[in-house]
């Protein structure tokens, strides 16, 4: 084992290149494995809770209702991403909304209304019952 600093640096650079090569050479996930994993997910996926929706029953009305509850889109613009996740959590489960809305994340992230619209598109179709 060498303690030569020049040699060690060369070793380190060489290793870095080999690590990169090893990562690049990773074979893809076999289709059969992915199918098994997704089958497990489907088998364990909880049924949607009956009270998944809060105020408005229309397709996107409940998201608008949430935004208005929080003081409009302008007020929501300063929410942290983690806090936003917390809103969805509080919203789709039957917990006290006051608890769900107490955002604990310290990081402030600028959110444009478009981001929230994006999330609305994600969550609303799954959690709003038909009709």
């Amino acid at each position: 084992m060498t303690t030569d600093p020049v040699r060690s640096e060369a070793d380190d650079a060489g290793l870095t290149a080999l690590f990169a090569a090893a990562r690049a050479a990773e074979p893809p996930v076999p289709d059969a494995l992915m199918r098994r994993v997704l089958a497990d997910a489907a088998a364990h996926r909880p049924a949607m809770p009956p009270r998944a929706v809060a105020p408005a029953p229309q397709r996107r009305g409940w998201v608008v209702a949430l935004l208005e509850m929080l003081g409009g889109r302008g007020a929501v613009a300063g929410l942290a991403a983690a806090g936003l996740a917390g809103i969805w959590i509080g919203f789709v489960q039957p917990v006290d909304l006051g608890v769900a809305l107490s955002l604990s994340s310290a990081e402030a992230v600028e959110l444009y209304p478009a981001d929230i619209e994006q999330w609305a598109d994600l969550v609303a179709p799954e959690t709003v019952p038909e009709g």
């Binding site: 380190d12 290793l15 690590f19 690049a24 997704l38 997910a41 996926r45 909880p46 996740a85 598109d121």
Partner: protein
């Protein structure tokens, strides 16, 4: 559907897990897309066996699906939790292998043959994988998590259940051992480092 997939690709892992727990199958697909390749690669490197690696990767994801309804927001990172699960699954399998052997023989540090000639003739990546496989388990684990999975030392410390300094010591020793294995043949043959 495409827009849905690309949006989910930016979603935080905790939000995805919560979506899944509320019945969202697309969230499960995104979680699998994100984590399964890493679990599989890790399993392959730690166990040296593709079938076993698939088993531990599938088992780790299964435990994620099972815990999703009980996941408590903000207590832990989903990825760290998952890494701990797969790391422990691999450790258990390796322990069972050693248990089957007659004695608890410590893994060889210097006895493995040099892979220099392999490096000359074959793929560089293959040379590294061979050298990795020859490392003692804990060094291999630390090096893989740090330099192949890109995790931070504090995160690795949490996964392995040791201190950060211990992680740094393991990765340093592991890398020295790798470098020695990958260049050892040159010394044996009497070559200097610059040709």
């Amino acid at each position: 559907m495409m827009a849905l997939d690309s949006s989910l690709a930016e979603a935080p892992e905790e939000a995805l897990l919560r979506l899944y727990a509320n019945g969202d199958s697309q969230a499960a697909r995104e979680l699998a897309r994100r984590f399964l390749p890493r679990m599989l690669a890790y399993g392959r490197r730690m166990l040296g066996d593709g079938d076993e690696a698939e088993d531990v990767a599938q088992e780790a994801m299964l435990r994620l699906w099972r815990i999703a309804p009980e996941w408590r927001t903000g207590e832990a990172q989903v990825s760290t939790w998952l890494w701990r699960v797969v790391a422990n699954l691999c450790t258990d399998r390796l322990r069972r292998r050693r248990g089957v052997a007659l004695d608890a023989v410590p893994e060889p540090e210097d006895a493995a043959p040099s892979v220099y000639s392999a490096m000359v003739e074959a793929d560089r990546a293959a040379a590294l994988e061979t050298a990795l496989a020859a490392l003692p388990e804990r060094q291999r684990q630390a090096v893989v998590l740090r330099h192949l999975e890109g995790l931070s030392n504090p995160q690795i410390a949490e996964i392995m259940g040791i201190g950060v300094e211990a992680v740094e010591s393991l990765t340093a020793r592991g890398k020295r051992a790798l470098a020695a294995r990958l260049s050892g043949q040159r010394e044996t043959l009497g070559y200097d480092h610059d040709d």
